[in-house]
Symmetry: C2
Subunit: 406 residues, 2 copies
């Protein structure tokens, strides 16, 4: 008689954004005349840039002709894309990463959740708190997180690194030594960043204790300040302790196009075994490459025209983030983020819980945001708004929030 993976039954509730969607649908049904503005989910709204659309059309034409048709892609991704990535994202930052250390995939979410597979089940993970839920949930499914404590909202075998206003959202080294450390900078959900010195300290720490940093740099393109590293490989020693995840979702509007990549330096070793070999084996056995058409679109991201258009697109979203941040400040909220990331993180007023504030905002302003507690216990009392809406909706949403009668 077959048995299920019981770890799945330990998962708490349903996925955060599914819960939000249900609440919003219920509200809309009860209030059909209200126009709801969604500034909650991290989904982009601007159309794909013209240079990328041109590349997509070109690649589609390729697939329609026998002489340029492409079947299965190479396991690690096409050379043309891996070379463009190395040149555009690493050489330009003085980071030493070679094309055969890049694994092209269908997105950072898949990679972030699958990477834990190549590690032992008794490895202990450390996560920032609040945190992107996928890091923890994928480890729950694997059976690495122990038991869930309903009172503390924590897993017994997970090390939490609180990031709150009190520590300026910079995690401290945990008391207990972790094996795998998930870091996401610029951060989702808090919008905060680490300076190069702060990230270097984490790299040094990981090398010292023999931990691996799983570094999610999905929002790298939104960095505007000088002293913020664009890749962890700007730090000395990162090649022996860090795996980096990058996404095209937010820098190029690819949430519905699906493309990302993971960097596994060949210097990452356990004894004689390269983590690179393990991930290559996983990639080759359980994945079959990103579509040719999509990889050609990815290549166009690094073209001269593509870069120019995407710089404008990012400026558009960051202008929204600025409108949100400034508007909320004017309305008396305590806010952070919104400078090197499209996320604005606010402290809920009057000791409201995150979900109370969610309902309050939905009801009073018909604006949807994301409750901070959905990202972990230290997210309680916080709330996330994003710059990914349209300019018009963002302005309207902030006006509504400012006009809420107290």
């Amino acid at each position: 008689m077959f048995k299920i993976n019981d770890n799945y039954l330990k998962l708490q509730g349903s996925y955060l954004f599914a819960t939000i969607a249900k609440k919003v649908a219920a509200y809309q049904e009860a209030n059909p005349d209200k126009t709801i503005i969604r500034l909650g989910i991290g989904d982009v709204t601007q159309p794909i840039a013209p240079a990328i659309i041109d590349a997509l059309h070109g690649a589609v034409d390729d697939m329609g002709k026998p002489e340029t048709f492409h079947g299965y892609a190479p396991d690690l991704g096409y050379e043309f894309l891996r070379n463009a990535i190395v040149k555009g994202d690493y050489e330009s930052r003085g980071a030493n990463i070679s094309a055969d250390e890049i694994f092209v995939s269908d997105g950072a979410k898949s990679d972030c959740s699958n990477i834990q597979e190549i590690f032992s089940l008794d490895n202990k993970i450390a996560v920032c708190d609040p945190v992107y839920p996928v890091y923890v949930d994928s480890n729950v499914m694997a059976g690495r997180t122990g038991e869930y404590n309903l009172a503390t909202e924590k897993w017994s075998e997970v090390i939490y690194m609180p990031c709150t206003m009190e520590n300026n959202f910079v995690p401290e080294f945990p008391k207990e030594t972790p094996d795998l450390i998930y870091l996401c900078y610029p951060n989702n959900p808090t919008g905060s960043t680490l300076t190069k010195t702060q990230l270097q300290a984490f790299v040094d720490y990981a090398n010292k204790v023999g931990a691996i940093i799983l570094y999610d740099a999905a929002y790298e393109a939104y960095i505007s300040e000088e002293d913020v590293p664009h890749t962890i490989y700007e730090c000395e020693g990162a090649r022996t302790c860090a795996i980096e995840f990058k996404s095209f979702s937010k820098n190029a509007g690819f949430t519905g196009v699906r493309l990302g990549y993971t960097v596994v330096p060949k210097d990452l070793k356990s004894g004689e075994t390269m983590l690179h070999s393990l991930w290559a084996r996983r990639h080759g056995t359980k994945f079959n490459g990103a579509p040719y058409i999509i990889q050609k679109a990815g290549e166009a991201v690094y073209s001269k025209e593509g870069k120019k258009q995407l710089t404008e697109q990012i400026a558009y979203y960051m202008n929204n983030a600025k409108i949100i941040k400034n508007g909320l400040k004017e309305a008396g909220y305590r806010v952070s983020g919104g400078v090197n990331a499209p996320y604005v993180w606010l402290k809920t007023p009057e000791n409201m819980t995150s979900w109370e504030f969610f309902d309050y905002l939905l009801d009073k302003a018909n604006v949807v945001g994301t409750p901070g507690s959905g990202f972990g216990p230290s997210g309680e009392g916080y709330f996330r708004l994003t710059g990914f809406g349209t300019y018009e909706n963002t302005v309207k949403a902030i006006e509504r929030i400012k006009n809420i009668k107290k």
Copy 2:
């Protein structure tokens, strides 16, 4: 100190097709004047059909305009595609499957390898022997297969169901009761099929012993004979024991486009828990949807024009398979398959091992095939050729094989 997943170290050699690629590259380098014809890997060669190319261009245009831009896709896939699948692949066969039981993905390989995650680690798998390596390897990585015996080339905790000329490639029920049974029909690599009566017997068996059948129907579109089921849900009782995987790779030439789907009926339960809920949670947490553009291409597969063009494309490949099968017969080989699947399975002559025959064919005819032993111990002494080449190359390859001087 982090530790790796030691199960990865148990994996035998590298992935079959990677080994072939290396051997071919070495031969080509040593013999730069030879023109090698590849009839080995199951990769398609014909361009994408015009109706699908049109749909791709249309969807790319959608992504370039604000009013038709698409961000994150729904977790399970777009309604338009899931409805087209239900109508085209299930209602038309009298099979009772609803749209919300369809999970759209980036391909059957990912799904076939990921599905084991929702089952307990102490479940025992049964596989046909020979078998598509991904089923076994994904279970090795998870730690479900015990130890590898170099002498027998078998895993201690895997139940093997031999499929050879002796039993006409129809597996018998294993002596030991399995929890999960992988079946692939039409079969890769043998090209064989099960009749409806034979498949019904497996469904009855699974329901009786409480096993789940993981049914890979990637080659369904190649079925030409009346009595061969196109989906396992044509069998009575399959909704309580079977998960089905379908691919667009081979029926629509999507190997480089990436699209597939998995059917998890809501009647599949362990106690009160629906497997559907577990797979939905996995899909939502560790995957982020297939690209909108690609799902629109998938929809076009079911259009009137699309169907017509793909019928022609499949006939083209099946004609190649016929040429291979008949040519090999004329050359004195014992062959099977090639009628309901694009795979021709031959017995190696003069007791050659599969790899000996690989080298022989590469050297004497400059033709690349796939050694049967790469698919499991009972594949030893067999060899796979596929109809996926071009007509011209297929004819040329068979001529060369016929002309080998004995």
